[in-house]
């Protein structure tokens, strides 16, 4: 730790000597400006360092200092609403120190060290505490109570507890052995946070996007890969989810993406209101931002920083959603560093450990019972955008993701060109959570949810086959029944599956509304087929009226109030067999408009 110095710099990599005691993934400060870096290889007394900041101007002979600890992130109140870079520094602090452009070498704590939080202890002196126990609460934002946890690996008897206004660095409790517990603790980002046990998925992660909730539902604690070529709307999907998905906390990682897009998020999110709290959605959101022109190694770190923050809120008992846009840029950062390390490349130049690393990252998703008392369950759902070169899903990152992800939401350029958004390709996409989530939809939305879903899937499948035939023989050669099918499938695609992210009434759809539209679409086909069977000619079918009814139902406001229940009941009333149950469930769905806002914690 004496006077190691830079002996080589190439791209984002530096070598330093002598650092014989360096550990892999140890954090180091490189050069006179103190650039942040991580040791990725040790050979004799030479350590190879991936540097998280721009290395331009770094000279041979500049000093290198080891810190003796890995890359960690400070976890505590003040994360919600924060906008941090890939290694956890608030971008506003960097702007304060450096101005409008990012220069290397900034030092900025993740959490504001001067801010005081009102700490309300839940435990008293003499209580025996163990890792994960809730010491007390800080109201982090009006919608989210921050549970101050005993850090993993820490246990003992409380010798002192302090209530009142505290900074994150001040002790809020002391153990008998003198250990100080604080509102915040640091955690190494590459190590998953422990939990008591994993719980199988059940409840769906309600996205507010009809095509996703209806056809390809993902369970809370699940993981999903969203690959799509450029222009297919990956980012809009991720942003729509960040805005409207039913989650207590959202961690959004802009990994190697556009600066203007992040600016848009920063301008828009504070203005959007979370319907459950009536407050800005920014108050439930953490933004990790590392745009494509920011240093590449920090891009690699940004996913780990984001997932660690997400696990932290999961441990409090919250339902957390992590949006990673995009994992491909993370993989490319791996490739870039690997290639500079002269590692033997695997497929498409990616390092051979790509699948392994990606798998470990995705497996940090899950529904868990958290460590400690009181008992609480939390969930971390990962939605990972992927940018396959040329839109080709056979590429290594997509394939590695599909080996571990429980669902695939594939985006289709043809749909995007038609301006059909979200451009989810229903032929390629799948979800392994459909069985697991079906009971929830049956109980909370409509008993025949699964049945309607299946019928619509069949309709879409048949449409595809028919369209192939029609393109060969011409639409006039089709039977009436087939023409009806084509027309109904078109209505289903255009009015139910497509959803406008820019229309305030349509940007998000509650499960009740989604069901109502799906049901109307299904009935349009059923009733039309029935009429044809009765001998009504195709031309006499009132398909235009059915379409208009669908459009009107889509354009109607979706407040999740009694009005929704009434309409669901009304739709259910037509076919007698399912009417009663659908009506009853519609009412139940209405009581719980978009899911519950209170976490299990402390309950």
């Amino acid at each position: 730790m004496t006077c190691a110095e830079v002996v080589r710099v190439v791209g984002a990599l530096a070598e330093a000597r002598p650092l014989p005691g360096a550990a892999l993934y140890e954090l180091v400060r490189v050069g006179e400006r103190g650039l942040l870096g991580e040791v990725v290889r040790v050979t004799g007394d030479v350590a190879t360092i991936q540097v998280y900041e721009d290395t331009t101007g770094l000279r041979l002979g500049e000093p290198v200092e080891a810190t003796g600890r890995p890359l960690m992130i400070e976890l505590g109140p003040g994360l919600l609403g924060a906008v941090i870079d890939g290694v956890g520094r608030p971008l506003a602090s960097i702007a304060g120190a450096m101005g409008d452009f990012i220069a290397p070498g900034a030092r900025a704590p993740t959490l504001d060290p001067s801010r005081r939080w009102s700490f309300e202890p839940h435990l008293a002196v003499g209580a025996r505490v163990a890792a994960g126990d809730v010491l007390g609460v800080v109201q982090e934002t009006p919608g989210v109570a921050h549970h101050v946890l005993v850090p993993p690996g820490c246990a003992g008897v409380l010798a002192e507890v302090r209530a009142g206004a505290l900074t994150v660095a001040e002790p809020c409790a002391l153990l008998e052995d003198g250990t100080a517990l604080r509102l915040a603790h640091a955690w190494p980002v590459r190590t998953p946070r422990p939990s008591a046990r994993r719980i199988p998925p059940g409840r769906p992660f309600v996205t507010g996007q009809r095509v996703l909730d209806l056809l390809f539902p993902v369970a809370e604690g699940g993981s999903v890969a969203v690959p799509g070529g450029f222009g297919t709307g990956k980012t809009i999907v991720e942003q729509s989810l960040a805005k409207y998905a039913d989650a207590d906390v959202v961690v959004y990682i802009g990994c190697g993406e556009r600066g203007n897009e992040m600016a848009e998020v920063l301008a828009e999110f504070p203005r959007l209101v979370d319907p459950r709290t009536g407050r800005s959605i920014m108050e439930r959101t953490v933004l990790v931002v590392n745009t494509s022109n920011m240093p590449v190694a920090a891009r690699e770190a940004s996913l780990y920083v984001g997932v660690t923050i997400a696990e932290f809120y999961r441990d409090m008992g919250y339902r957390v959603a992590l949006m990673a846009d995009s994992t491909s840029r993370w993989a490319e950062a791996l490739r870039e560093v690997g290639s500079r390390l002269q590692e033997m490349p695997g497929e498409e130049g990616y390092p051979t450990y790509l699948g392994n690393r990606l798998g470990k990252l995705f497996e940090r998703a899950g529904r868990v019972e958290a460590l400690g008392a009181p008992r609480r369950t939390g969930a971390l759902t990962i939605v990972s955008a992927i940018s396959p070169p040329g839109g080709d899903l056979s590429e290594p990152v997509t394939q590695a993701a599909l080996r571990v992800a429980g669902a695939l939401w594939a985006l289709d350029p043809a749909l995007a060109h038609q301006r059909h958004f979200p451009a989810i390709d229903w032929e390629t996409s799948y979800s392994l959570y459909d069985e697991a989530t079906a009971p929830w939809f049956a109980a909370e939305v409509a008993a025949d949810w699964a049945e309607v879903r299946r019928e619509l899937m069949t309709l879409l499948q048949q449409e595809r086959e028919l369209r192939e035939i029609a393109s060969l023989v011409g639409p006039d050669a089709l039977q009436d029944r087939e023409r009806l099918l084509l027309e109904c499938a078109r209505a289903l695609r255009e009015l139910v599956l497509a959803q406008s992210a820019f229309d305030p009434n349509d940007a998000s759809s509650s499960p009740a509304k989604t069901y109502r539209l799906a049901r109307l679409g299904r009935d349009m086909y059923r009733e039309g087929a029935e009429a044809l069977r009765r001998g009504v000619p195709y031309e006499r079918l009132e398909l235009g009226a059915a379409r208009r009814a669908l459009a009107a139902a889509r354009d109607a406001a979706d407040p999740g109030t009694g009005a929704v229940a009434a309409t669901v009941a009304g739709a259910g009333a037509a076919p007698a067999a399912v009417g009663a149950s659908a009506g009853g469930n519609g009412a139940r769905a209405a009581e719980r408009p978009t899911g519950k806002g209170v976490p299990h914690a402390g309950a």
Partner: protein, 479 residues
């Protein structure tokens, strides 16, 4: 700074554009290097890899005739900088920023490092100010806004450069705000360079422009620096002089080839199609230098032009570009063959920031639904065209037949505008005229309210004999 300057006599090795040095104390990554050999003009270079064992210098000029043993290599102690300033307006420079217009070198207002620092995302302002290019397919369907980066995907023989020229000539800054154009020609032929210079001079656009022309015959490595030099100038004009700057870079495909050539010379592990694995990051360091900053008056907007080899949009150059830029304008060979100018295929084209730049107070109130309907009808018409090729036009449903006719008119009358510069009002009127030919049932994206307004507007001029008094107009049914 000169204190850090040191000179080495003789280099141990050279290969392609690279020069290798040994025992360079305190060499810095990105450091500017001057190479002098007796009897030859000075060459410049940049340190791209520093190490005790070897330091690698990328030489910017042609290395033919460079004898490493005889070279005096000076490490200047500074990273590459360039002269920027308002006095560069009206000048034509080469890819290194040296004059090619016969005038003395510009004095400039400041020196700036050519490798820009990333803008802090929290200091950016989301772009939302409409730029009228005078091109219907862009203004109407893929609206460009200030601070955006919107590339043109061209193909060999397609008029990508021509379109860029038209945009440069036609672009207007609203409210008469200060406006400048920076044109960067990368690896363009002498013919193209001449044509462009000529065009800028004839139209008078040169007065508010800076041209950086790297020709095919110039060293490939200059191509890697030229866009960065130009962007350093653009950032100065925008963020320090308060000017709205439009940067046109043509052709990015040549840039990427130069990047591949250098990576190969450095014996790096190649990625897709031989391009280096870091090409995404590298391109981002150019494209991301577009934007608007809080509290600064100007803006940088980029229109990069690139040629898709073999019209292949999945080729790494357009592919990686599309992942970074905020949309793309795609040219179609089929439209070009039919004589449509500009031959923009609006279906794969996209402006991601369009939504922020259109609507009431920016373009026109119904812009979104108007564009959506044009897209929808055109898509249907294109599908019908495929179908008609198999079953014949007579075999189509009536709605498909209407859409087919619509698609044809859309291409001939809306997209095609020849040499005309269209105002936004003209673009909107042509679009409405095309939509008016369709029955209400086909206009699924047009809301009822808009439809009724249009009905009323159309009903009014129907009777030319009617007096101007509003009372004489019979109320349209349902109106």
């Amino acid at each position: 700074m000169r204190a850090l300057e040191r000179t080495y006599h003789g280099a141990p090795a050279a290969a392609g554009p690279l020069l290798f040095l040994k025992g360079t104390r305190r060499a810095a990554l990105g450091e500017w290097v001057v190479i002098r050999t007796p009897g030859e003009p000075d060459r410049r270079g940049q340190v791209i890899d520093v190490g005790e064992a070897a330091t690698v210098v990328q030489v910017l000029e042609e290395t033919i005739g460079l004898a490493p043993r005889r070279a005096d290599v000076t490490l200047t102690g500074e990273v590459a900088q360039v002269v920027v300033g308002r006095d560069l307006l009206g000048r034509a420079l080469n890819g290194m920023g040296q004059p090619i217009d016969g005038l003395p070198p510009p004095f400039g207002e400041a020196l700036r490092p050519i490798v820009g620092a990333p803008m802090n995302p929290v200091r950016r302002i989301p772009p939302s100010d409409f730029i009228e290019t005078g091109i219907s397919a862009i203004d109407g369907m893929n609206t460009l806004v200030r601070g955006q980066k919107l590339p043109v995907f061209s193909g060999p023989g397609l008029p990508g450069l021509e379109l860029a020229g038209r945009i440069v000539e036609g672009a207007r800054a609203p409210r008469g705000e200060p406006f400048a154009v920076i044109f960067v020609g990368l690896g363009i032929t002498a013919r193209e360079a001449h044509a462009f210079l000529d065009r800028f001079e004839k139209s008078g656009a040169i007065e508010r422009s800076v041209l950086y022309l790297n020709e095919t015959r110039d060293p490939a490595i200059e191509r890697l620096l030229a866009p960065r030099i130009a962007l350093a100038q653009a950032e100065f004009l925008a963020f320090e002089a308060g000017i709205h700057v439009l940067v046109v870079i043509a052709d990015i495909a040549h840039y990427c080839e130069a990047l591949r050539e250098i990576a190969n010379a450095r014996e790096e592990i190649p990625g897709r199609r031989g391009y280096p694995g870091y090409m995404y990051t590298d391109l981002a360091s150019i494209y991301e230098r577009a934007g608007i900053l809080e509290g600064r008056a100007g803006s940088v907007t980029q229109i990069p032009i690139l040629t898709m080899p073999d019209d292949d949009i999945t080729h790494p150059v357009p592919d990686l570009t599309g992942y970074i830029t905020e949309g793309q304008i795609v040219l179609s060979r089929e439209l070009h063959r039919r004589g449509v100018f500009p031959p923009v295929d609006v279906l794969p084209s996209l402006s991601r920031l369009m939504n922020a730049g259109i609507g009431e107070g920016r373009t026109f109130a119904e812009h979104r639904e108007w564009a959506n309907q044009l897209y929808a009808s055109y898509t249907q018409g294109r599908d019908a065209r495929l179908m008609a090729a198999i079953v014949g036009e007579a075999g189509l449903q009536p709605a498909d037949r209407r859409a087919l006719a619509f698609a044809q008119r859309f291409e001939d009358e809306f997209v095609n505008q020849g040499a005309e510069r269209r105002t936004l009002e003209a673009t909107a009127a042509i679009g409405w005229a095309l939509l008016d030919a369709l029955p209400r049932e086909d206009l699924v994206r047009i809301t009822e309210a808009t439809w009724l307004r249009r009905e009323a507007a159309r009903a009014r001029p129907v009777d030319p004999a009617a007096p101007a008094a509003p009372v004489a107009v019979p109320a349209p049914a349902g109106g």
